[in-house]
């Protein structure tokens, strides 16, 4: 990553919003909007269905994707249930009323069929992903990562599929999985996050467009990082992807998702579902670097990131590890969770959540201990500045029949301004006396003496803040795959420029 900036381009008939211009303080503008280097949009022929949500729209989406009847039925059931619901209000978030009829629920680059080779992909799409630094070209095979790139509603290109297929690994777009592996999808879809789970899960189940599907067969260690890159490009659309990962007995996979969106004045809705199933002795590492557009300094625009992520560790001694670095989105509502139903299963959650300006984040995890000998670790690091609100919300539950369970939670907040808010809402429900549950929490600020000490050694304040913040977040950053740890560290530094108030 470098500091090169991309100016927002005008995108044909769908103009991209420019960041607020005419601000007296160019420096502030630079720090608060200029540094979102993914704010450009691309002029790509896109098929968008009219805004609005009805049974007809659900049928239309299913039809466009040539889906089997069972999947349409699944969508319709979800839609009918969703209609009975109202959005949840329990989070420490001020979410403006969302007009769900004003959103288009399907946008796709015009190409009808999934491309067979790189030559068939619209060069403008390739260019978009190249500018984002995403290696979707086959020749970048040596970069050691397989990528599924999702633009707006559909998967654009999945790389390395053949090489992975030789090992029996399936890594493809969700639509392709429905077409090519319908039995697998049907077996697992909605089993971890049912459409009745919550409002946004019901919405996603009704209108989900695409996403990634991963299956790692018994005994296979996936030899490379699998990565999905999500990009919202079109204006006025929501993105509703679904990721389903199944790790069969004794398998291992490390999966990473990254997200960006253009800078626009309006808010964009992202309501995704991630379901993970981990069988006996299998291990899944799921890493997220979330950098959706966060809105401008006054809180205009930005993505509403309302996501349900959950893994079911039903295998004996299975392990699921969530690592997230959250710097983007106007509003974040997500709680990557582990249901530990296999004996000796291990759940981990490592999170760095940065909020600044008017950003709001309510994020955390749930560790549900259903089986004996299960262990979980939660390390949450919040960093807040500006007028932002940053909340940790967590649940640790130990079921009556789960003996000898163990949880350790560490929940730290770092405040960089006097006007931000950091909150923690930990809930602990223990129904078995043999459980050991620990919760530690700290709140700290960067002190004037710490900054002066750095200054005295020649380190300017901005660099000193970056050093201290990176030091604070190091424990979580170390959990990311190497190449992303470097990226995420730079992202933190850029995000927090000029942010000590």
């Amino acid at each position: 990553m470098n500091n090169e900036q991309h100016n927002p381009q005008t995108a044909g008939t769908r103009p991209a919003a420019c960041p607020a211009a005419g601000n007296d303080s160019a420096v502030i503008a630079q720090a608060t909007t200029g540094d979102y280097k993914y704010g450009f949009s691309s002029d790509i022929d896109t098929e968008i269905i009219p805004p609005g949500l009805s049974e007809d729209v659900v049928r239309l989406i299913s039809e466009k994707k040539k889906e089997p009847q069972w999947l349409l039925d699944f969508r319709l059931e979800a839609f009918r249930y969703w209609k009975t619901l109202t959005p949840p209000t329990w989070a420490h978030l001020d979410i403006p009323t969302i007009d769900f009829q004003a959103i288009s629920y399907y946008a796709a680059p015009v190409k009808k069929e999934g491309p067979r080779s790189l030559d068939e992909v619209d060069p403008k799409i390739l260019d978009t992903f190249n500018r984002l630094g995403i290696p979707i070209e086959e020749q970048k095979a040596l970069s050691g990562m397989a990528v599924d790139a999702v633009m707006d509603s559909v998967s654009v290109r999945t790389t390395h599929r053949e090489r992975l297929a030789e090992m029996g690994i399936i890594f493809c777009s969700f639509s392709e999985a429905v077409r090519d592996y319908p039995d697998l999808v049907r077996k697992y879809l909605g089993k971890v996050v049912g459409y009745r789970d919550n409002f946004y899960a019901a919405l996603n189940s009704a209108v989900f467009s695409d996403g990634s599907f991963v299956y790692i067969p018994k005994g296979v260690r996936c030899p490379m990082e699998l990565s999905t890159y999500f990009r919202i490009n079109s204006a006025g659309t929501g993105q509703f992807e679904r990721t389903l990962i199944v790790a069969d007995d004794d398998s291992y996979v490390s999966y990473l998702e990254g997200c960006t969106a253009p800078m626009r004045d309006e808010n964009q809705l992202h309501a995704a579902i991630v379901e993970i199933i981990v069988e006996d002795r299998a291990e899944v590492k799921y890493s997220t670097v979330q950098n959706w557009y966060a809105g401008d300094r006054e809180g205009r625009g930005g993505v509403y990131n309302l996501v349900t992520k959950r893994g079911l560790c039903r295998g004996t001694n299975s392990k699921l590890s969530w690592t997230q670095v959250e710097t983007g989105s106007a509003i974040t509502w997500k709680y990557p969770s582990c249901v530990l139903s296999g004996e000796g299963a291990v759940g981990e959650f490592y999170s760095v959540a940065v909020t600044r300006n008017r950003q709001q984040a309510d994020t955390g995890t749930k560790m549900i201990h259903l089986a004996s000998g299960t262990r979980s670790t939660i390390v949450s690091k919040g960093i807040s500045t500006g007028h932002s609100q940053n909340s940790y919300r967590g649940l640790v539950r130990v079921a009556p029949k789960a003996d000898n369970c163990r949880n350790y939670t560490q929940c730290d907040s770092l405040l960089l301004s006097d006007t931000c808010g950091a909150h923690t809402f930990p809930e602990i429900q223990v129904a078995n006396p043999s459980a050991v549950v620990e919760h530690e929490a700290t709140t700290s600020k960067i002190s004037e003496q710490q900054l002066f000490y750095c200054n005295q050694r020649g380190i300017p304040t901005e660099k000193a803040v970056a050093l201290i913040v990176n030091g604070y977040a190091r424990e979580v950053m170390n959990k990311l795959p190497m190449e992303f740890a470097v990226e995420a560290q730079k992202l933190l530094e850029i995000t927090l420029q000029d942010s000590v108030g």
């Binding site: 710490q450 005295q456 020649g458 050093l467």
Partner: protein, 254 residues
Amino acid sequence: MKEALLKVENLRAGIDGKEILRGLNLTVHPGEVHAIMGPNGSGKSTFGGVLAGDPRFSVESGSATFHGTDLFGLSPEDRSHEGLFLSFQYPVEIPGVTMVNFMRAAVNAKRKYFGQEPMGAADFLKMMRQKRAIVELDNKLASRSVNEGFSGGEKKRNEIFQMAVLEPRLAILDETDSGLDIDALRIVAAGVNALKTNDNATIVITHYQRLLDYIKPDFVHILYKGQIVHSGGPELALELEEKGYDWIKQQHQS
């Protein structure tokens, strides 16, 4: 006579509107070691902090010229780049930031100031090894967080280590002897002496004569109520040790 490295004239400075330094004058030439002694509350640490740019203190009037430059016109980091080093009486802990990252940021910020490329990782680590040997810090230093969990002696040795890395023109040692046992004191003093050249200078701020057995001053100044009221050679420190500060207080009572 060489040109003055530091010339402080009529310096008045304080904290929260309370004046602590009341017209302080001091001139330091390259190659010299000055000791500033005085009873508690006389303004010794304020003087060090004001020179380094500690934001708690504000300068009311007077000037400080550092090898020809107006010191108070420079940011704290630029004062550092120009060669001013303050060894803190209470070194600050910075959790999570390793010494190697901290010092690399410091060294490269200085190199950037002088238009130089960042130092390569291998060269940097080699330099770290050489410099920590001066104060007998072990190789775990690099991976430890800045001052976090350091003993009192380790903190002060770590200050001198940083001084060795940054090679200042003027080092101000603020109560570097406080909280040190005799072994640590020897190590710290030996480190300071090893770094002494004809081109740099040291201001040793101390309450006791003890440190001056190891770091021999050329000049000793007595600071009282924000002014240097007495200056002399090394013998002045011995006199203070013998007679205490009461005679100074009595002389300046009126």
